[in-house]
């Protein structure tokens, strides 16, 4: 348990069983009144933010977050199945939690999954992933400018903007943190 006076911006706490993070924090003490800790809090499961004011006598639950290393194995309908690198136990993440990251999963990819009480909360992929371009208009010959972009599609349908010199069959590196093109790895 934390004392209210331990609270600060960035601290993760548990409220009604949900992991939450303090996104803004203000010490307040009205004239002759008690110390109050005014917090803006984000629920890390739902993403909702709300205000909560703690009195100095209140206690706040700690939030036990654990992250473990996994290997991506396969897709099962709307679920993505990973296997624990140490215990080989399965973890299943739905596509809602993965968002666009689902497009960047490749066989045997090493990922880190963050759990709160065995509930998967977040996943971290390697910063870069190599993927093949399945579809794009050919660029004008000799045009090697890197600041001109055109749309392209990966085999899984994800759309990305690439420089004009990229062709179908090329392998490119994608930054998984932003979902954008980083550079070309090899020509197709």
């Amino acid at each position: 348990m934390y004392n209210a006076s331990d609270l600060k911006k960035g601290l993760k706490i548990e409220i009604d069983g949900d992991p939450c993070m303090i996104t803004n924090f203000e010490f307040s003490k009205p004239g002759k009144g008690q110390a109050l800790y005014r917090c803006k809090i984000k629920n890390l499961v739902t993403g909702n933010t709300f205000d909560k004011t703690y009195r100095s006598v209140e206690k706040v639950n700690r939030c036990a977050l654990i992250s473990r290393d996994y290997t991506f194995s396969y897709i099962d309908g709307h679920e993505y199945v990973f296997s624990d690198n140490n215990t080989f136990e399965e973890a299943r993440l739905n596509d809602e939690l993965l968002g666009d990251l689902k497009y960047f999963l490749v066989d045997d990819m090493q990922v880190e999954i963050l759990f709160h009480n065995e509930r998967p909360l977040d996943i971290t992929l390697p910063n870069f992933v190599e993927m093949q371009i399945a579809e794009t208009e050919p660029g004008a010959r000799g045009d090697t400018a890197t600041n001109v972009a055109k749309p392209a599609k990966l085999e899984n349908g994800y759309e990305i903007n690439v420089p004009i010199f990229i062709n179908e069959g090329d392998t490119v590196r994608i930054d998984t943190r932003t979902g954008t093109y980083a550079d070309r790895v090899s020509k197709g």
């Binding site: 002759k32 009144g33 008690q34 109050l36």
Partner: protein, 279 residues
């Protein structure tokens, strides 16, 4: 102008204001054996004594000894208070006037702020605690006081509304449970003659018609000690000479004003970080 020049001008202006009005500047001890007992103000230990949380007790002894117009500019210390508007060590302006009440010292305060803050042209709103709580929090704490609800609604609902009002807002007539060292209103004993001044939503000063009933003062200290014990807080001794002085002093009005916060507000800053370079 840099912050030290601004502070210098402010301190000179404060001294000039009170000297022009025949107040005597006093310089009372920082260390004391029995700091003033208040439920939520904790004194910092200093050797076998404590650092004062306010010069109030010394000033009341001076009032009892016939000093009728006194002021002090000095450091006060409060344990554990740190934030954009709090520092555990800060400069307090405190003044007392005999044969005056809280509304008389409000007039002093308006004149003081006007003299220090040239061309500010501040709008003054004087509102009762009951009316602002009814309007912004939907209940009247007078007669149905609930300390936690009062404090939380004050910071979550009332103070943000005062900030939106801009200018100076004086909240007056506190529930007697939050009277601290002020006297009850003679015609309505659920309320106490206390006010707090906010400018641009920042609380700057606290004032009382001072309590001059030694038995009630003794009782309030004892009740406060019980409540502090229940919260697991340290209690301080009750200074018999102070209780005696409360019984001998004339009816008086007194104000405590946070100088660092005033400097912050007057110079358009929003955190004490910007006015206390060594913090």
């Amino acid at each position: 102008m840099g912050i030290w020049q601004q502070r210098d001008a402010l301190m000179r202006g404060i001294r000039a204001f009170f000297h022009e009005r025949d107040f005597t500047e006093v310089d009372t001890p920082l260390r004391m054996q029995t700091p003033c007992m208040e439920l939520h103000i904790d004194a910092e230990a200093s050797g076998d004594s404590f650092l004062r949380t306010s010069p109030e007790m010394f000033h009341k002894k001076l009032l009892a000894d016939g000093h009728e117009r006194i002021f002090e500019l000095g450091k006060c210390f409060r344990q554990g208070e740190r934030g954009p508007l709090h520092n555990p060590e800060y400069t307090m302006l405190e003044w007392y006037r005999a044969h005056a009440d809280y509304m008389d010292v409000l007039e002093d305060t308006k004149k003081l702020i006007d003299s220090l803050w040239h061309g500010a042209d501040i709008d003054w709103h004087v509102l009762s605690v009951s009316e602002v709580f009814e309007e912004f929090a939907g209940w009247n704490p007078a007669g149905s006081f609930d300390e936690d609800r009062f404090d939380i609604d004050l910071v979550d609902k009332v103070e943000p509304a005062l900030k939106r009002m801009r200018g100076a807002v004086v909240l007056k007539d506190y529930p007697v449970e939050a009277a601290a060292l002020s006297r009850r209103k003679p015609d309505y004993s659920l309320l106490a003659e206390r006010w707090e001044l906010y400018i641009d939503g920042v609380e700057l000063a606290n004032a009382y018609s001072e309590l001059t009933d030694p038995d009630e003062q003794q009782r309030r200290f004892e009740e406060c000690a019980d409540k502090r014990r229940a919260l697991g807080k340290e209690t301080y001794g009750i200074d018999a000479e102070f209780i005696d002085a409360v019984g001998r002093m004339p009816p008086s009005g007194g104000v405590a004003l946070g100088v660092d916060r005033l400097l912050m507000v007057m110079t358009g800053r929003t955190s004490l970080d910007q006015v206390l370079p060594f913090r």
